[in-house]
Amino acid sequence: MPPRTSLMPVDQDWGSVWPGPRTFHPASVPLPLRQGYKEKDAPPGKFGNAELMKIPNFLHLTPPVITRQCEALKSFCSAWPQGLETDAKCEESFPLEIITSDYCHSSPDIRDPLARIVTLKVKLGRLPLNTHAKDKLLRLVGERYNPENDVLTIMTDRCPLRQQNLDYALYLLTTLFYESWKIEAWESEKSEADMEYYDWDASASRKNVMGLLSWKPDQNAAEMSADAMDLDIKEFKEAVSKIMNEGEEEYTLSRYKEEVKKLFSLQDISSKV
């Protein structure tokens, strides 16, 4: 009997001949395939070729078949809403992100324990927080906050099911938010050592500078307000705050040096000459 391929018309509907995934059958596939390696011969043909039978083939997914199947699936799909074309627009309307993973692999068990992990991401700028609430939230949250993106990430995997983990993550977010707004009695005991940023107005540096300036010979003493000597003080304050808040770098230290020189009215001798 000749193989079926010799009786196949050229314009047949291949999707009907090979409707589903099937092991390679050489007499049904009208292609002159060669697969494998022999040291001195050409690659062996398709009849009796174990290599061709072992590998999974995609003969059931030719382009016309894919088109046909997708046409049938379109009725189950919905269009992406207009007005959310870019990521920025999506973020504006929907700032909370929930990231989950699903796993599909061949094993006796369809469940994968990693599928229960839920990650929640939100930008703190979108939550209504005042300065105290934000500071408290950052202290509560610790490493989960990324200051570069202003993104708070909460990852939960302590519950066995994904829905439980999601509920727990949302509960954590709610609790963190409301706890950060509460002002406890012991928070009034916050000292300068606990401050998360350097506040020059309440520092020893300001006291010293004011003391120095009030001893200026050409000015009356007891002018402790900053309004009298405004410009110098502001720039000096900025220079000191920069060193403390941003770290000791060449730029910040050189600025501080310039400000101190200005404060003491020391002129640059080298430039005069």
């Binding site: 997708c70 699936l73 799909c77 973020e91 992100e97 929930i98 599909c104 061949s106």
Partner: protein, 189 residues
């Protein structure tokens, strides 16, 4: 009364009836909770049965297998199907090298420690990203993809869902006192 008249023109028919109820109950002093319950029933039941479609900013499909040719064909199939369904395709990439998991065992059953045999399992990866899918589109597409997953290939799907911040997270106006004061006001009315 003028204000109420203005409001009544703006809201729809069903809500106007419930507004009238609200005014009536406010005069007699019954708590607003009862009105809310009645309102939910009067506005049709379709709202309660409607489940909003989820929005996925990005769906990342990772396929792992032992044969790179099979993975390549599969990604071609997945991307073609996505194009047919009108899904935006993001980045598709594959790491340059596979993951070689090697194992060194003794060749012989007894002694001959110097003669060993080495086995390795090569796992190849391919990543595909699909952007801006709705929940129904994602479910349909992923089910189609997964039904045609060839044997020996594993898949991991990571979905990034975008939602609004839950409505119960809002600036508290002295929250501990608020619940008490609102209860007191309702009972006084």
């Amino acid at each position: 009364m003028n204000v109420l008249g203005v409001i009544a023109k703006v809201v729809c028919k069903t809500e106007r009836q419930s507004l009238v109820k609200l005014v009536k109950y406010a005069e007699t002093g019954i708590r607003s909770q009862h009105v809310c319950k009645g309102r939910m029933y009067s506005v049709s039941e379709t709202n309660q049965s409607e489940e909003l479609d989820k929005l996925y900013r990005m769906v990342e499909v990772e396929v792992r297998g032992n044969d790179p040719a099979v993975l390549k064909s599969y990604t071609w199939f997945a991307t073609t199907a996505a194009k047919e369904l009108g899904i935006t395709i993001g980045e598709c990439w594959t790491p340059r090298k596979a993951n070689h998991e090697r194992l060194t065992l003794l060749k012989s059953v007894h002694i001959y420690k110097k003669h060993r045999v080495q086995y390795e399992i090569r796992t190849y990866f391919r990543f595909m990203q699909f952007l801006r899918l709705t929940g129904s589109t994602a479910d349909t597409f992923l089910e189609y993809i997964q039904r045609n997953l060839p044997e020996g290939v594993a898949m991991k799907v990571t979905k990034v869902e975008i939602t609004a911040i839950p409505s119960h997270i809002r600036t508290p106006n002295e929250p501990q006192q608020q619940a008490l004061s609102s209860g007191v006001q309702a009972s006084n009315q």
